[in-house]
């Protein structure tokens, strides 16, 4: 285990301009009874992945509120991470052959980490399956333990879930990103959304010149409609389905398609999917397939801001924060009704949901033909994110959980 040191400071008052001073004062009101009480977040990686991205922004905000919040990262060998990767996929419903050795590796690594940690913070938040067995180290000091699951557990592999269930059931609470992901557990289960930071590089306002230069760099025509899906090259994001939907739209309306995602160079499966996508695109000039660097927040921001419509045509999805990112930028979004997406897209209010390639194409055509409705969906989407999916709301939700757990004892 190692503690993650957060060096950047994010003055809370910078959010007041976006949210109003009352919202910031409310955070201070909620924080007051929690001051001096210890909070510990534990996950399995300090960089990369949505959890680390959120914690990197959450801790500085907690510090601004004078909360005593620490973040520890679990350490493990390659064997542990291979096992937990297999568990992760199996919990998402991928085939997995249960092997007793895998469970032993998992338990041994959790035990080693348990030995190094005090685990005595008043509020212990354990993120995802990797450190779930740390609950075995729970002290008899009456502290509160909650398990935050960021993955889709709606169709988990039975063997893996049965194994994890024994640990999760001993927490005081569990949090999921969608009601659909919750399980039959003897503990309270809460809805906790991931969040975006409106002041981060991925979401802050950009100069129009930067957006124009980004389009020029990728040879995208700013004068014609741009349909964009930002996602890694993964079959579950259905990039080939997006191209097929685009082709249906293109029969009726002139437009361009941008498929942009993190580089596939270190992901063998991603490289295969990228090749499939390129084959499907077949060199068509108006289909822009962009391999972005692993961390390219400003380019993502610029491509989203330049888009006429943002698409998220996933077949499975944890939460799909790219939807919130697009909504924050007031973009009309057409997305699949899977995972956490329907929480973000309230059909016909904050965006449009679709259930097929043809349905996706139909909704895109509708929005391209009705720009005033598209604009209204974008406005409402922005307000929806502001109310529910910003990092400040996430901190508020955590503080509410701590206060509720303390009250329950």
């Amino acid at each position: 285990m190692s503690e993650v040191a957060i060096t950047s400071r994010i003055p809370l008052d910078e959010y007041a301009a976006l949210l109003g001073q009352g919202e910031i004062d409310e955070l201070r009101v909620l924080a007051k009874p929690l001051r001096g009480r210890s909070i510990e977040m534990i996950n399995s990686t300090a960089v990369g992945g949505g959890v680390a991205e959120i914690l990197n922004r959450l801790l500085p905000l907690a510090e601004e509120l004078e909360l005593n919040m620490r973040w520890e990262v679990m350490t493990g060998g390659d064997d542990f991470y291979e096992v937990t990767k297999a568990f992760h996929n199996a919990l998402h419903g991928a085939p997995y052959h249960a092997d007793a050795k895998d469970f032993e590796i998992f338990l041994a690594c959790n035990e080693r980490n348990r030995a190094r940690l005090s685990l005595d913070a008043e509020f212990m938040i354990i993120h995802d399956p990797q450190p779930a067995a740390l609950i075995d180290g729970r002290k008899k000091n009456g502290n509160h333990w909650a398990w935050r699951c960021h993955i889709d557990l709606s169709h988990p592999n039975r063997a893996v879930w049965d194994f994890l269930d024994k640990f999760v059931a001993r927490y005081d609470a569990a949090m999921f990103s969608s009601p659909e992901f919750s399980r039959a557990l003897p503990i309270p289960q809460y809805l906790f959304y991931p969040a975006i930071d409106p002041l981060s590089e991925k979401n802050r306002e950009l100069e129009s010149g930067f957006v124009a230069r980004t389009l020029a760099e990728y040879q995208i025509d700013p004068q014609r409609p741009i349909l964009t899906q930002i996602s890694r090259f993964d079959r579950l994001k259905d990039p080939v389905g997006v191209i097929r939907a685009y082709r249906i739209v293109k029969r009726y309306l002139d437009c361009q398609l941008v498929l942009a995602g993190g580089s596939a160079s270190d992901d063998p499966e991603g490289a295969v999917v990228l090749k499939e996508v390129q084959q499907e695109a077949n060199g068509e000039a108006d289909i822009h397939i962009i391999e972005l660097p692993a961390w390219a927040p400003l380019q993502v921001n610029a491509l989203q801001r330049a888009s006429t419509i943002v698409i998220q045509k996933s077949l499975r999805e944890g939460f799909g924060l790219t939807v919130s990112e697009a909504l924050w930028k007031k973009k009309p979004v057409v997305a699949s009704a899977v995972g956490g997406i329907p929480v973000q897209i309230i059909h016909k209010h904050t965006g449009l949901l679709a259930h097929s390639v043809e349905g996706t194409a139909y909704q895109i055509r509708f929005l391209l033909s009705h720009p005033e409705i598209a604009a209204k969906l974008g406005e409402h989407g922005h307000e929806h994110v502001k109310e529910n999916f910003l990092i400040t709301q996430k901190l508020k939700r955590y503080m509410t959980l701590f206060l509720a757990m303390a009250r329950a004892k």
């Binding site: 001073q21 409310e26 009601p179 659909e180 009704a337 329907p342 209010h349 929806h384 109310e387 509410t400």
Partner: protein, 219 residues
Amino acid sequence: MNIAETPFEFFTVSYLTRIGNQSAGTLKEFLTGLQQCSDASMFHHTFQTLSSHHFLTEGFSNDFAQWAHADANREDLAEQLAILDVRDYLSIAALRSDLCRVVGDYCAANPAFSEQTALERFYFCESEEVMLPFELTARSLEEFREGIAHLSHASFYFHFMSSRLRLQLQTNDFSHWLADGLGLGTLADSVNRIDIYTNTLDSARAKVLRLIDRERRKG
């Protein structure tokens, strides 16, 4: 200047959404859910949703109506559910009774529809409330105005909307104090008439402030 004997104390509220153990994939299951879900669940999908979706002022009334519209694809039922106004209810039991009547009647009249599978399931959730003083009080209309202008959305919602159930009166905390604390019955009535279904929390707040300013100009 009127000074109230008992000051108005501003509070704020924060909600956790607790995932319940009931869900519905058909109208028939939905009716069972409405009959059996907790009061906290009823509150969550009717009162609380107005706070978390306050920015939707056209065609969004409660989670039940939205599901009937977007997932069950029953526009006529959705309309009947959407027109139920939470301000008409002093108890969750009365609201539940009307919701069950509307859905029950619809299922009885349309038995084929009641068994059809919706696009997405409806998950019954509950609101778990944590309430704290906002550390603001008011004794005069001026201080009251200042307080309202400064509130968070959640705090404004708490006093303006969810207070109706707490008070068990067809009024809200603001109107109650304006009438009882400051003796401003007409202003209290005007504030109580602001339509939360066609206003966002921001526009409702702006209307409250305008009404207070008009009252202050009179004085």
